[in-house]
């Protein structure tokens, strides 16, 4: 048994080219050492407090609660520096890279939030940063592309396939294969080969650890449902982990149903529950055809536009501990607008999926939703679609 979990039930593993295997072993060893090192934690905790602004608030959303007909609490990861939960992971991994003596960072990004977080951490720690991003995502998340440039990162456009997150991850992995001695790959979600799924979870579990204590303090009870959107699944696993042992608390992951689960244009491998397979180094829930070719995902939100998911989620689904549902582009867009109007909060389109499900899914004594990020990056895209007469 390794010090870091490689398998979650049958899921996970390390399906990568041999060239990377020593780097994965090195990363695992570095993480095992760092996570038990008080000096590492005090540096990370200080940055999370003074630089990121943690703990992020837990906010009871009164008008959303009224609209839903039950209490809704939002875990405000949108208030973090750089505007999403991604910074929790990026900072932790950048500190780890520095410990390993690696001064060059590669990252992938879909919505641009992880790219911005990685670029920010690299600026802070004086590391070189290259971010791979599909050209379709460069188009729809323009403000984040400009931020990364200003922060000193180089954004490498990726033209392959559907020019979205899947191809950006592949391009980042190829770069890492070629530059593995000098480079650390800061993966943006709890996906990829071991030790990444557990490493990213451990760096994101601060979301749930804080939220659990906060909800007990504010509401004097645990939530009935804990809800988060799932792209790769990092904000969801970060929130769920603190509640896994609380058997009465339902864990709900909300995937992108895109244009509908009855069409091929979605990003919901967990909900669809087809044959599992290997994508980006892990055996997990994926979208594939009968020949084992990976299918292109689709979602209005670039961060959920991914045909795979974290292996721990596939395992939580099979074990019945968590359940996974999906919300369409249209429902998410409506929740995006509603949250703005009712609460004065513009959520990321990703997070709007979780809100949409909570509002539309019947009574609950208390819903705790991860508001994983803010929607500034989505304004142009969403406003074009919300304009009367435009397609949606």
């Amino acid at each position: 048994m390794s010090a870091v979990r490689h398998r979650f039930g049958r899921y996970g593993g390390q399906y990568v080219p041999e060239t990377l295997m020593p780097a994965l072993a090195e990363l695992e060893a570095a993480w095992v050492q760092a996570r038990d090192d008080p000096a590492f934690h005090s540096e990370l905790d200080a940055l999370l407090a003074d630089y990121v602004g943690r703990p992020s608030p837990l906010y009871r959303a009164p008008r959303l609660s009224e609209a839903a007909g039950h209490p809704i609490y939002l875990k405000r990861e949108d208030l973090n520096h750089t505007g999403a939960h991604k910074i929790n992971n990026a900072l932790g991994q950048a500190l780890l890279a520095r410990r390993m003596g690696k001064r060059r960072i590669v990252a992938e990004t879909g919505a641009g939030q992880h790219g911005v977080a990685a670029a920010t951490a690299c600026a802070l720690l004086d590391l070189e940063c290259v971010v791979y991003m599909g050209t379709e995502d460069i188009r729809r998340q323009k403000p984040n592309v400009e931020r990364m440039g200003l922060l000193g990162a180089r954004v490498e456009p990726v033209e392959a396939g559907a020019r979205t997150l899947k191809e950006a991850v592949s391009a980042a992995i190829r770069d890492w294969v070629a530059n593995v001695q000098s480079t650390h790959y800061i993966i943006g979600s709890c996906v990829g080969p071991a030790p990444y799924p557990e490493l990213v979870r451990d760096l994101q579990r601060v979301i749930g650890d804080e939220a659990r204590a906060q909800v007990l303090e504010h509401a004097g009870r645990l939530p009935e449902r804990v809800i988060a959107c799932v792209g790769g699944g990092s904000n969801a696993i970060g929130l769920f982990t603190a509640f896994v042992e609380d058997e009465a608390v339902q864990l709900v992951g909300v995937e992108a149903a895109g244009e509908g689960l009855d069409t091929p244009r979605h990003g919901a491998p967990l909900t669809e529950a087809g044959l599992p397979g290997v994508l980006h180094g892990a055996f997990t829930a994926i979208m594939q055809d009968e020949d084992g070719q990976i299918l292109e995902a689709h979602s209005i939100s670039a961060g959920l536009d991914y045909p795979g998911t974290g292996p721990e989620h596939a395992w939580l689904r099979d074990s019945g501990r968590a359940r996974y549902v999906a919300v369409t582009d249209e429902q998410a867009l409506k929740a995006f607008e509603r949250t703005a109007r009712l609460e004065g909060i513009i959520p990321a389109l990703e997070s709007a999926h979780a809100i949409a499900w909570a509002i539309d899914s019947g009574f609950s004594e208390l819903d705790l939703i991860c508001l994983s990020g803010r929607g500034d990056k989505d304004l142009a895209e969403a406003l074009a679609l919300l304009t009367p007469g435009s397609a949606i």
Partner: protein, 269 residues
């Protein structure tokens, strides 16, 4: 020459390496092709041309949507092949066309298409198609034992890879599991032509393997092929250069044949 039906894939691979030597070759010539590229039809002609112009063994690539170990040329070829209608089944039909010429075929396929069929069904399909071995570039030692026993039962060689980054102790462990040959990756990186190559891994790999060692990734010119043989490689694998020729040339079949003849010449004693 024994026919494919009475010998195992592992035996056919061993014979091919031995035959290359006895025919006066310093190393076996092992060209790679992308099945279904530039089209399924043309790739059948290319397959036959490989066998006729001097290949000792052929690596037959099954196109995959997300080939993490491949550089731009082979990645683009895989994308084009899939777009042109290549499937696992149609690519495996090419194996027979090559194997008919007594040239063993090693199928190169990423994990997921193998898993989608299931190890047992995939191995059985390879045997039916006349293939002799299998390379799975994203299936390292830690994940390979189940597929290896399935391949063993079918007489297929599951060929592992070692890289310049592989530490010695691990190299020995991988070498001990090798069937058919050991694939030494010449570069720290993905597939693709390189101007400079360091074949030093060959000697390290050979010290830890009881099977032949083939060097691949980056080799593009006849003189690089020759240098690989000089460094002690038992086999020389050439991929991107040939795939590029298949995609660029007005007459892809003539272009790859000419290149293979050149490599074959360079590997002569």
């Amino acid at each position: 020459m024994a026919s494919a039906s009475t010998t195992t894939g592992v035996e056919r691979i061993a014979e091919a390496f031995a035959r290359a030597r006895s025919d006066g070759r310093r190393a076996a010539l092992m060209p790679y092709m992308m099945g279904g590229f530039p089209s399924v039809e043309l790739s059948r002609e290319i397959a036959v041309a490989y066998a006729h112009s001097g290949a000792d063994l052929v690596e037959l690539g099954i196109p995959f949507s997300d080939p993490l170990a491949d550089g731009p040329v082979i990645h683009a070829a895989a994308t084009a092949a899939l777009r042109a209608g290549a499937t696992v089944e149609r690519v495996l039909e090419l194996a027979g066309a090559i194997a008919e010429n007594d040239v063993p075929v090693i199928v190169m396929c990423y994990s997921n298409p193998v898993l989608a069929r299931g190890y047992e069904r995939f191995a059985a399909a390879l045997v039916r198609a006349g293939a002799s071995g299998l390379i799975v570039p994203d299936l390292p030692m830690e994940e390979a034992s189940e597929l290896r026993s399935v391949c063993d039962r079918h007489g297929l060689a599951l060929v592992p890879l070692v890289a310049p980054t592989t530490p010695l102790e691990r190299l020995a462990q991988i070498g001990a599991t090798a069937r058919g040959f050991l694939y030494a990756v010449a570069v720290t990186g993905t597939t693709g032509e390189r101007a400079e190559l360091d074949p030093a891994l060959v000697a390290r790999a050979a010290a830890h393997a009881s099977v032949p060692v083939a060097l691949g990734f980056g080799i593009a010119t006849a003189s690089q092929a020759s240098a690989a043989a000089d460094a002690g490689a038992d086999g020389v694998i050439i991929g991107s250069r040939l795939v590029r020729a298949a995609g660029e040339a007005d007459d892809p079949v003539a272009a790859v044949s000419e290149l293979i003849s050149e490599y074959a010449g360079a590997l002569r004693d």
